[in-house]
């Protein structure tokens, strides 16, 4: 790694932080500045003007938007996300309580989906143009477009209603024995995996095929190397960068999918917390959850970016 690469990495980090700042401005503008008077909303129609004015002063709403934004940002950086109105609890406590559950769901999904997707993608690339490839192309193309709640509904119908193997609802806590763990996580993870595996497999296939079309692979083929060896020893090491990039980008899609999946399975994670907050218009909680999700999203995109840089000598020496 030379100084050039280091500079590029630092630059990407800087860009990600600037983007996160802009995102925080957008989030704050939409949730706190535009919708009018939060004090009036909180107190309802029958509040006297004095009550409203008192609450406005207490919440700091009488100050200009920029000042409030800076205060809010400073609080965020200090780990203070504000007070959740509907739960009468600090937002950070609520998020801290739910965060491990969502992380567990995401981690399990990643552990299941990555190997499956890589195998499918590499397999499709090896049998390119053949029957398996066409079938996989059709299946993945369809699965990318399927809404999570269709997958979830069908999965519940088959595994919980018809076969009775799993429970339709998922309760995050009781995962002490392996069997309980599977019963709890099987349906949500399956649902999340469908879309992600499809996306990842398509991108992996493209990355491997890109390498298989290169002259050095043709050379290897001409000297009689077996197809499996060509893929594993020649093509794959060079495709690692794009593949890791694909994995990180696909995993960032988890953040959207998890919103639906946690709701449909009643899973006590951050996304269902956020949906409840949106329904109750609990702004501090919405802001906190949104910033967390956006930060995670940007983090994954940054990771994808860095993998692409580190694995590609041409990008590195730009």
């Amino acid at each position: 790694m030379n100084s050039n690469t280091l500079g590029l990495i630092v630059q990407r980090f800087g860009a990600a932080i600037v983007t996160l700042l802009i995102v925080s401005m957008v989030v704050f503008a939409i949730t706190a500045v535009l919708p009018g008077d939060a004090a009036q909303q909180a107190l309802g129609q029958f509040a006297t003007p004095e009550q409203v004015a008192a609450l406005r002063t207490k919440l700091g709403l009488d100050q200009p938007g920029v000042v409030r934004y800076l205060q809010w940002l400073m609080n965020l950086l200090g780990g203070n996300f504000g007070e959740s109105v509907s739960n009468a609890m600090p937002v950070s406590d609520l998020i801290a309580g739910r965060f491990p559950n969502t992380l567990m769901l995401a981690a399990t999904t990643a552990l299941v989906s990555v190997p499956v997707a890589l195998m499918l993608g590499i397999g499709a690339a090896m049998g390119r143009g053949g029957r398996i490839d066409s079938a996989l192309n059709f299946v993945t193309l369809s699965l990318v477009a399927v809404p999570e709640f269709l997958v979830a509904t069908l999965a519940v119908l088959i595994f919980a209603v018809k076969l009775g193997w799993l429970s339709a609802l998922s309760y995050g806590g009781d995962a002490s024995t392996p069997l309980q763990f599977i019963r709890t996580y099987a349906l949500p993870v399956m649902t999340l995996c469908c879309v992600i595996v499809a996306q990842m497999a398509r991108m992996t296939r493209a990355a491997v095929i890109d390498q298989l079309d290169s002259p050095y692979v043709e050379m290897a083929r001409l000297k009689g190397v077996s197809p499996v060896r060509i893929v594993l020893r020649h093509a794959l090491p060079n495709a690692i960068g794009p593949i890791v990039n694909a994995v990180a980008l696909s995993l960032s899609y988890l953040l959207g999918g998890v919103v639906i999946v946690e709701t449909i399975f009643n899973y006590p994670g951050i996304a269902s917390l956020m949906v409840d907050a949106v329904t109750n218009r609990d702004m501090a909680l919405v802001q906190g959850c949104t910033m967390l999700f956006c930060a995670a999203y940007l983090g994954l995109v940054l990771l994808a970016d860095l993998c692409a840089i580190l694995s590609n000598p041409r990008l590195r020496n730009q």
Partner: protein
């Protein structure tokens, strides 16, 4: 989910298997079918949308009720036929607006001075880094849900993607000789943007519009499914899934059919668009 597909699609169609030609046809017919339903559905519906026609809730498929009945005993067929209009209509309006605004901004940023290009691009970059569902959730939490707001949200989250794709094409075209010739001839910027660049990128822009339509259908029905999209008494296909979720453990058609309807629409769009873009990449690959 937009940046993922955008970065993946051009690379995926490296060499599409020839066999999937008829899949594109299937996709096109499914799209056409849903477009027709959206246009004429309300006249085909056998019952008024809100009328309770049966004493049994979550009734199974029968001759009287081909799609069964919902959680109040209303005819599912009528509700799906009318719900499709919301799903297709809202998504189509949003997709056309998003692609239109994105393409216009792209043309503007290519022919405009550098500082304006820089401002537009930075702004679009900021919006693309908020996941569409997150943006939709904060918009709804701030302004409450309405059809206008849903369209605005979808446009806001899918314009940046359309802009990126259109801009990268416009930059390439702008460097070609005939645009240079037009510029030397003394044509003004508007002429160059609309008469020289736009016609040559129209096809990919339309393909991208189709792709965006699919995403927006997923976004809007997802929001409706969460109860934050189209509000009762109106119902799009996503709301139909939500309101009938109680029939899930009976396996009622009331929940399966609207979910399948959304799936068939988005899959149809994807198959159709995939076919269109793979044909083009093969054609351009031959040169």
């Amino acid at each position: 989910m937009n940046p993922i597909i955008e970065t993946s699609t051009p690379a995926v169609q490296v060499r599409a298997p020839r066999k999937i030609a008829w899949l594109g046809l299937v996709g096109a017919s499914v799209c056409f079918f849903w477009l027709m339903i959206a246009l004429f559905g309300p006249w085909l519906a056998p019952h008024p949308v809100g009328e309770v026609v049966s004493d049994n809730v979550f009734e199974n498929i029968s001759a009287a009720f081909p799609f069964g009945t919902d959680y109040l005993g209303r005819d599912m067929l009528s509700r799906v036929l009318i719900g499709a209009r919301f799903t297709v209509g809202l998504a189509l309006i949003s997709a056309v607006l998003a692609s239109g605004i994105g393409t216009m901004c792209a043309l503007l940023s290519v022919v405009a001075p550098k500082w304006l290009d820089e401002i537009i691009s930075r702004l679009m970059d900021a919006f693309i880094s908020i996941p569409s569902k997150m943006l939709a959730l904060i918009m709804v939490s701030a302004f409450g849900s309405s059809e206008v707001l849903l369209v605005c949200t979808a446009v806001l989250s899918y314009t940046p993607g359309a802009f990126r794709i259109a801009r990268s094409m416009a930059v390439n075209i702008e460097a070609l000789e005939y645009v240079q010739v037009a510029r030397t001839r003394g044509e003004d910027r508007l002429y160059i943007a609309c008469r020289e660049i736009l016609p040559n990128m129209l096809n990919p822009v339309l393909t991208d519009l189709g792709l965006r339509f699919g995403f927006i259908v997923l976004l809007l029905s997802g929001m409706s499914f969460l109860g934050l999209g189209v509000q009762p008494p109106d119902a799009d296909l996503g709301s139909l899934v939500r309101e009938n979720i109680g029939g899930l453990n009976q396996g009622a058609p009331a929940i399966v059919i609207p979910a399948l309807a959304i799936g068939s629409l988005t899959i149809g769009v994807n198959l159709f668009i995939d076919r269109l873009s793979s044909r083009r990449s093969r054609r351009s690959g031959g040169h």
